[in-house]
Amino acid sequence: MGKKRSNLGLIGTYILWTMMSIFTLLPIYWMVVVSARSRVELFSPGKFWQTTFYAQNYTNPLTSPAFQRYIANSLIIATSNALLVITLALFATYALSRWKLNGADNIFFWTITNRMAPAAAFILPLFLLFTRAFKLGDFMMFDTRIGLILLYCVFNLPFAIWLLKGIIDGIPIELDEAALVDGAGRWTILYRVILPLAAPGLAIAGILCWMFAWNEYLFAAALTSTRARTITTGLAEFVTVTGTNWGEMAAVATISLLPALIFLVFVQKYIVMGLTFGAVKE
């Protein structure tokens, strides 16, 4: 009896999750389908399945110098930001964990609360600062990669510190002290003792920060014009410009979610852990 019921439950679970998977994948499936259709094909409605592949939707943007620059910018910005964030976050969490620094916690609390406010609220001051204040001779922060790399630290750093704090706190201070007795300096301890033990946490933080930076749109759109544009702003440009080329837009959107797909397939468990960590933590 009990066995039968659990089998029924299992079938129900499969039906439910098959439906959920269809619901989840349908918009993505349709995007890939659109990206594989020519303009003529696209406007012949009622065709759900796709058998042909119109490669031009991909080759056109991929061979255009502007779009190549967008992708390169996105890669450079996301990678530099992730590396910078985990380096600084390692320093900061180590400092917060091993020294009593009065008032430092407040600063992080403040930045985390700031993150909850609509990002749009910060567009204007940042735009004005980037175009008018952050200048040095010919250099202007507006429309530079370094501007976005540093700016993304504002939301990635508190997140990474928050994620790493527990991990660094969990490394026994006796290890530091033993190394100190052996005559190791602080940098050696950080590099030889803390870094290897915190590496998995740093990797999760790095991947998530990379994704956040890769996915960010609003600031990239407001604070760049041509040179430092990223793939997300390139994607949005397809819609605002008149006479949208839907096939190419779908292709660019598909390209933009490839990193997410790769990360999910290979390190899904850790990503989920990192994302849900905040909610489950005490």
């Binding site: 989840t24 004005l128 540093l150 504002v154 949005a236």
Partner: protein
């Protein structure tokens, strides 16, 4: 213990970056909010306007309407996502073959760029070749026109957000569910409690901290909604989906009304912080009551 110099030294780069890119804009927005500063207005430059921007803001129907719409949107999506996420998480507690595959597929929307989410839903709902208008018309005879029906536009943004963020709620709930002790649940079942009773009197109270944190994260995130709606509807038709982020964007960029935009940004920031504080105290009180009840 040791000299704090090195500690502060290690923290310094972080503090400097957060200061320049986090604190400075915050103070700057307060400052600009007191000026009448429109780049394309007749008088060049900006003029001190005192609290004029704020005076105008509290009677600005467009602004108030947008705040109301954003709150309604947040209420709808968070309610649906929390209930759905909680129920779906229940079905994932037990291991079954293929669970990992389902979970990977299901986690995909969380990782997609919001702007790309907007793009996928745009392609799905666009008249001409979108799946939704085509099949709604063919199967149900419903005329689905995102560009002209404000109700449809609103609910489409809700469904899009549910699609985007229910997985996150489900996964946090799942993480919470796997962390709570199993013995009390099994004991209760042995004692003859039915499923609903177990859920109501054991699972939910034990899950309260996770539920509250997730609820809090989701409410704050839903109020910030921007990129995906921006691409899907652009805030339209008329102002049906012009949530607060989109309104600020419009005032700042196409209209270049810097002073007014700053005042609006600051007021929104302030309202968010107050709301966050209120929510947090109310929610943690509810949480405590619920835990002590059992």
């Amino acid at each position: 213990m040791r000299s704090n110099r090195m500690g502060w030294g290690l923290l310094a780069p972080t503090l400097i970056i957060l200061g320049i890119f986090g604190l400075l804009p915050f103070f700057y927005v307060i400052y600009v909010g007191f000026f009448d500063w429109n780049v394309f207005s007749a008088e060049v430059g900006r003029q001190f306007a005192g609290a004029d921007n704020y005076r105008r803001l509290v009677f600005d129907e467009e602004f108030l309407g947008s705040v109301g719409r954003t709150l309604l949107f947040a209420f709808c999506v968070v309610t649906i996502e929390m209930i759905l996420g909680f129920l779906l998480a229940q079905t994932l507690v037990r291991d079954f073959p293929g669970k990992a595959v389902f979970r990977t597929i299901y986690a995909l929307p969380i990782m997609i760029a919001p702007i790309a989410v907007g793009a996928t839903w745009k392609l799905l709902t666009i008249p001409g070749f979108g799946l939704l208008p085509y099949y709604l018309d063919k199967w149900f005879g419903i005329e689905y026109q995102l560009g002209s029906h404000s109700g449809q536009a609103f609910w489409t943004t809700v469904v899009m957000d549910v699609w985007h963020w229910t997985p996150f709620v489900t996964l946090t709930m799942l993480a919470g569910l796997t962390a709570i002790p199993k013995e009390p649940l099994e004991q209760a079942q042995v004692d003859g409690a039915n499923r609903f009773q177990v859920l109501r009197f054991l699972t939910i109270p034990m899950m309260m901290p996770v539920i509250i944190t997730t609820l809090f994260i989701r409410i704050m995130d839903a109020l910030r909604v921007m990129d995906e709606v921006f691409l899907l509807t652009g805030g339209g038709p008329a102002n049906a989906t012009r949530y607060i982020g989109i309104l600020i964007w419009r005032v700042v960029f196409p209209q270049t009304n810097y002073g007014y935009g700053s005042a609006m940004s600051l007021l929104v920031l302030y309202m968010t912080l107050v709301l966050a504080f209120l929510l947090f105290s109310v929610l943690s009180r509810v949480g405590k009551q619920n835990t002590s009840e059992k």
